[in-house]
Each structure stands twice: as structure tokens, then as C-alpha cells.
Symmetry: C2
Subunit: 180 residues, 2 copies
């Protein structure tokens, strides 16, 4: 089990909510944690295969009378152990890279107007995110059938997103003042 591969932990964690196909996993990511996590098929399918070989997930082929065949995966006991081990570990993220800050840092090559545009573009994006968060909250509170604990944890991650967007907007506004 390659330690640095984060996709595998995301997959194990998502299978912790119940058996799913690779296709389902991608949908799950996009619809619930898409605002702070991304995955793609070209990575999900090979890793599901590897996890199966390692005995961390179990494959069951489902061939319905109608519709294409699906591979439904579920967590094994070993898979749950691996998931929990990672959850308890406190390795920090290795790559710290903020492209926006890099652009600002090199901003002396731009005019003040162009720098303002860069900041305002970011502001717009954060405002759009804030609007999207309303929909996520609606999903959690009304459409999601999980336990209170699961909802609480989801809301905590959502709150992080909201606070970060609001903070970024505040930062843009005070930075624009500094450019005057």
C-alpha cells in the first residue's frame, strides 16, 4: 500500500458508507465532498483493482437483466483497519502551493489595475462558491439519509469552506485598499 496515494484513502472512506461501484464513488465525490476533494475515473478504477488484490476491498460483479454490468466493491475488515490507521495518523500534506498568492507575490510585473483584476476575479469565485454551499447544506439537511454523526461531520467540513471563502473575500477587500 503506497503511503502517499490519497485516492486510496478517499475510496476506502467512501466505501465506509456502503458498497459502491467505481462510477458511484466518482458521483459521491462530486456531489458531497467536491468542494474540497477531486477524483477521476482514470485513477479510481486502477486503484480499486489494486485494493482488491491487497485484500482491502471485495469485488462483487453484478449483472442486472437490464443495464450494463457493474463491479460493486465493499470494505473488508483489513480495509477498515487501513482506513482507521490513516484517520488516526497525523501526517501533514506535503505540497503547499497557492497559485493565487504566487501571482500576487510577483505582482510588480503587473499594473495596479491588472493586480486589482486578479483579486476581483478571486472575489467573484469565492462568492460563487458561497452560493454553491447553500445547495450543499440543503443536500446535507434534507436529502442525505445518514446518521446525525455523519451529518454533523459533513456540516463541519462545509463550515470550513464557508469560513474560508468569507475570509478570502475579506482579504481581497483589504488588499484592494492597500493597492490604492
Amino acid at each position: 500500500m503506497a503511503k502517499e496515494n490519497k485516492t486510496q484513502y478517499a475510496i476506502l472512506g467512501i466505501l465506509g458508507f456502503g458498497p459502491m461501484s467505481g462510477y458511484d464513488i466518482k458521483k459521491f465525490v462530486d456531489m458531497s465532498i467536491g468542494f474540497f476533494w477531486n477524483e477521476n475515473f482514470g485513477h479510481i478504477y486502477p486503484i480499486l483493482n489494486r485494493l482488491e488484490k491487497e485484500g482491502l476491498v471485495e469485488k462483487r460483479e453484478v449483472t442486472p437483466r437490464r443495464g450494463p454490468r457493474r463491479n460493486v466493491y465493499s470494505l473488508t475488515a483489513a480495509g477498515k483497519d487501513a482506513l482507521i490507521a490513516w484517520l488516526k495518523s497525523t501526517e501533514s500534506e506535503r505540497a503547499v502551493r497557492n497559485e493565487l498568492l504566487l501571482r500576487i507575490f510577483f505582482g510588480n510585473h503587473l499594473s495596479t489595475g491588472e493586480l486589482r483584476e486578479t483579486l476581483l476575479h478571486e472575489r467573484k469565485q469565492q462568492e460563487a462558491r458561497l452560493e454553491a454551499f447553500a445547495e450543499v447544506r440543503d443536500n446535507i439537511e434534507n436529502k442525505y439519509p445518514g446518521s446525525d454523526e455523519e451529518k454533523r461531520n459533513w456540516l463541519i467540513t462545509l463550515e470550513y469552506g464557508i469560513m474560508k471563502s468569507k475570509m478570502t473575500i475579506r482579504w481581497v477587500d483589504q488588499s484592494l485598499k492597500k493597492l490604492e
Copy 2:
């Protein structure tokens, strides 16, 4: 010029402050923008070579009477153009991945105590960052010989770091309350 490669833009931007060796570039990153950007030699040297072939930077070999030989690179006109084109562009970052939030989202596999530990560990890290920022500010205000404009932009990026750490600490505290 491969579009997705961010290291190349970081290198061009840093050479915008003056001619430097690959070694200098790494030091520069670590000492100034290390809190939001990272680079390593295994990537810097090959990319400097490629940028030279593409005519975006110019190499000058310096062999001092004492000390090892150095390759000092400087921005060409084409290099500056490429830098400015990237600065003006507004492609957003592709990979959005927050490992801490992923752990929280899967937190139903941990006890409340273990979840609290995860949050408190993050809180400690952010407090350490806040202390480190004091040193960065000192660097900017007292040791850095650049223009006022350069200092202002640097301080703006620093302020982002400070606000984000403070926000994260607030988020941890209110999340801990939700776990009670």
C-alpha cells in the same frame, strides 16, 4: 512550454527579482514564500535547462577562484513575456484537495476523543505557523532590500497566511464545541 507546470512560472517569477542560480532559487523559495509554495532541486534543475532551450532564461557559467562553479540564470525578454502572460491569465487551480477535511468527513470511524485530537493537532500547527509568520514579517520589513511595491505585495500574501491560520483556529474551536 507545458502549461500545467507551475514550477516554471515560479522560476520565471523569482528570476524577475534578479539573476540567480538554481540553488539560489531554492533558498529564495524557502526563505520568502515557503509558507505557501514549495520547490525541490530535482525539479528546478531540469526545468532551468528546458527554459534555457526555449529561450526564456539565459545561462551564464560563473567559475570563481574559490568555491564551486555556479550556473547563474537571468530572465530574457521572452521569459518576461511568458511570466506576464501567466500573471494575467486566470486559470484556476485544478486539484482541490484538503486532507484534513477528508479525515473529518470520514470521522464516524473514530471516537469523539480521536476526532478532537485530529482537530487539536491542526490547531497546534496553525499556532506554530502564526509564530513563524512573525519572523517572515521581520524579514520583509527589515531585511529585504526590495521596493515598496514588492514589500507591499509580499505583505499581502503574508496577511493571507495569517488570516487563514486564525480562521482555521476559530473553525477548530467551534467544531470542538459541536462535538460536545
